[in-house]
């Protein structure tokens, strides 16, 4: 047996020293990346979570004739005991109220249905547009994109008002159709669901077209040639290749239209007339007409919960798409 005495063991080999440095570097890097992530987190905390908590707190309060029109009101002057006393005053009464009056349930269902139908219609209109843009000569694409975004340069409110001028019984559309002789009496489009669909499809079309365009534009069109070469008719090639590959865009576009459309207030208010039941209008009425802040806050919180479902679905689809 040989002894290995006489060979000094190095206290710290160069390897471990280098490792130490790289570890330090790694820690610095991860710290910086954490700091970078911190910015959006802080933003969400300040401008989403805090306002949400305020709304949530109001939704648990009781309405009263005062300024602000609800109790309890938390104040820093009351100290801890005042805060605890205030907590005991909070109640789920408003949420129970929402289940007792069918108006709210009907408004939610009607909003979701109107938003879903409009989203589908927007997809039907937006897909061919995005497809045409993606297949247009590269030199024209920037111009086409510009044209899609151009309506944003005018106020949303004014553009929706403009549709009243087009859709009303003596409006441009009816005059034109009468002049063509297609109809004898003006069509009643204003104050119907059709008007709301037209308004939403028109207003939210860019939100559908842009993600669709992004996913179609990066698609390799030789895939379609390959599909045709292997025996697909152009229609079959569309459904088997183009559409599945554009699904991330379809989902993204649909979410971008559906989510704001559910809570839409301006379009149903201006184009849908008084009998249209949508949650955005209900909320508005509770808040401004009834001055019932707690109930309208509860309506808003439930609306958020309804929207969380499609958002989670959207996130899942996105992470799946990223995994490939």
């Amino acid at each position: 047996m040989t002894e290995t005495t006489g060979i000094p063991t190095t206290p710290a080999s160069p390897g471990t020293a280098a490792q130490g440095i790289s570890q330090q570097r790694g820690m610095v890097a991860s710290l910086t990346s954490r700091l970078v992530i911190l910015v959006p987190y802080l933003w969400l905390l300040l401008f989403f979570l805090v306002p949400f908590l305020i709304v949530f707190k109001i939704s648990l309060s009781t309405t009263t004739i005062a300024m602000p029109p609800y109790v309890p009101v938390f104040s820093l002057d009351d100290g801890l005991s005042g805060f605890l006393a205030g907590l005991r005053e909070l109640t789920v009464e408003n949420y129970l109220w929402l289940t007792q009056d069918a108006l709210y349930f009907n408004a939610y269902v009607s909003s979701v249905v109107i938003a879903a139908v409009s989203t589908f219609l927007t997809l039907l209109v937006g897909y061919p547009m995005a497809y045409g843009m993606a297949r247009a000569p590269a030199s024209m694409r920037a111009t086409l994109l510009m044209l899609v975004i151009l309506p944003f340069w005018t106020s949303f409110l004014i553009r929706v008002y403009a549709w009243i001028g087009i859709l009303k019984p003596e409006g441009l559309l009816n005059q034109f159709l009468l002049w063509l002789g297609i109809i004898d009496t003006p069509l009643q489009i204003m104050n119907t669901h059709t008007a709301i669909y037209i308004g939403i499809v028109y207003s939210y079309l860019p939100f559908m077209v842009l993600p669709l365009y992004a996913s179609l534009e990066k698609m390799d069109f030789s895939l379609i040639e390959a599909a045709q070469d292997l025996g697909c008719t152009p229609t079959a090639a569309f459904w088997k290749i183009t559409f599945p590959l554009s699904l991330p865009g379809v989902v993204a576009g649909s979410m971008l239209v559906f989510i704001p459309a559910v809570g839409e207030f301006v379009i149903p208010d201006l184009l849908g007339g008084s009998q249209t039941l949508m949650i955005g209008r209900t909320l508005w009425n509770e808040f401004f007409a009834n001055r019932d802040w707690p109930v309208s806050s509860a309506v808003a919180v439930i609306l958020l919960l309804i929207l969380v479902v499609p958002i989670v679905f959207f996130q899942r689809a996105q992470s799946r798409a990223q995994e490939g």
């Binding site: 390799d220 030789s222 895939l223 040639e225 390959a226 599909a227 045709q228 070469d229 292997l230 025996g231 697909c232 008719t233 079959a236 088997k240 290749i241 599945p244 590959l245 490939g324």
Partner: protein, 380 residues
């Protein structure tokens, strides 16, 4: 003329006047706006042939392939497949399949589903599809990767999937657009032989588009050299190499020395050609009827012998010069010899011995010599 390319298998329907061509391009022209991609081109390809369309980018070779596949329609002229005019037949009804340069694998489908795609499209029963897909996976040695998606494969594996997918339907004709273009050199060389075996085994007609002359030489039965939408020459690789019909073809394939000169007379079947410096050479293999005018004698570097003394057997041509440059490549050495008139001639010698005594070096006075039939006389 002695038979060129006798090393190839004895498959030569193009020499048989009774043989009926399988694919015929008959005066085909294709214009894109002002640009003429294919110009009044006629070409015949035979069944089971491995045919290469060779040319620089923009010569119209890919357009030719796309017209056969049905992605483009000829502006004028006809394309016949087995006697049937293909005009107006959409790609999905043509009995040809194409392997795309980008492979065009469907990214949302597994390897299996990619290969099965065309079969399902034809309404093949499920059990048969599975069996055929299994065969194809085995053929391209990708059985363990059946469930993978294209992005989980290497470039070479993707190329095999594309190949398997395009032959799965057993098309009458397989079109390959730069099939090996995306592979590295070593893999490319291996795959060349695999493609040849595959073509033999399946008995299909292959038309391959390539810009790589070595690839075309290795794989093809015949090569069509294209330039600016026109066919320059259609011949076997050996004929193209040893008997190019024009300066363009001679230059395009391999290395060549073009000894330019004027015809001064005939000597039996040979021509006497006088160069600019006044030196005369004797040259065989002239096109019929050429007995005057400006010509070029095209001779490959390996057909020229370089020696330090004047060769004694005076049968051939010889010229004196000086070693201007040389390159030792291991298997051979390439000499650039500057002649008296300033022209630089390239000659290569095989290094069959490991060590040479007194090897030639820079500025050595040397003699180059070559037989009168070691090259061809070109008028174009």
């Amino acid at each position: 003329m002695k038979a060129l390319g006798s090393i190839r298998r004895t498959f030569a329907p193009w020499n048989d006047p009774a043989a009926k061509p399988y694919i015929v391009f008959d005066g085909v022209t294709k214009r894109f706006g002002d640009f003429t991609a294919v110009d009044n081109l006629s070409l015949s390809i035979f069944e089971r042939e491995f045919f290469a369309l060779l040319g620089a980018s923009g010569c119209g070779k890919s357009t030719l392939l796309r017209m056969l596949a049905g992605f483009e329609e000829p502006t004028s002229g006809r394309i016949l497949l087995d006697g049937q005019d293909l005009r107006g037949i959409p790609p999905y009804r043509r009995p040809v399949n194409m392997m795309f340069q980008s492979y065009a694998l469907f990214p949302h489908m597994t390897v299996e589903a990619n290969i099965a795609f065309g079969l399902k499209q034809d309404g093949m029963p499920k059990a048969d599809v599975e069996k055929r897909v299994g065969e194809m996976l085995k053929l391209v040695k990708l059985e363990p990767f059946a469930k993978r998606k294209p992005h989980q494969l290497s470039g070479g594996q993707r190329q095999r999937v594309a190949l398997a997918r395009s032959v799965a339907k057993r098309p009458k004709v397989l079109l390959l657009d730069e099939p090996l273009g995306a592979l590295d050199k070593k893999l490319r060389e291996e795959t060349q032989f695999e493609l040849m075996d595959l073509q033999q085994d399946l008995g299909l007609t292959f038309i391959v588009v390539t810009h790589d002359q070595e690839e075309a030489m290795t794989m093809a039965d015949r090569i069509a050299v294209l330039d600016k939408g026109e066919v320059m020459q259609v011949a076997t690789p050996a004929e193209i190499y040893e008997a190019p019909v024009s300066r363009f073809v001679a230059n395009f394939i391999g290395n060549v020395n073009l000894l330019e000169g004027t015809v001064t007379g005939r000597e039996g079947s040979a021509l006497r050609i006088k160069g600019a410096s006044g030196a005369e050479i004797t040259a065989q293999n002239a096109p019929a009827g050429v007995d005057h005018g400006e010509v070029a004698f095209a001779i490959r570097p390996e057909k020229i012998k370089v020696s330090s003394h004047a060769p004694t057997n005076g049968a051939g041509n010889m010229m004196e010069g000086e070693v201007y440059d040389l390159a030792y490549l291991g298997d051979m050495t390439v000499y650039l010899v500057k002649l008296a008139d300033g022209q630089v001639v390239k000659a290569s010698a095989l290094n069959s011995a490991r060590v040479t005594e007194n090897p030639l070096t820079w500025n050595d006075r040397v003699w180059i010599s070559f037989a009168p039939d070691a090259g061809v006389v070109l008028t174009r």
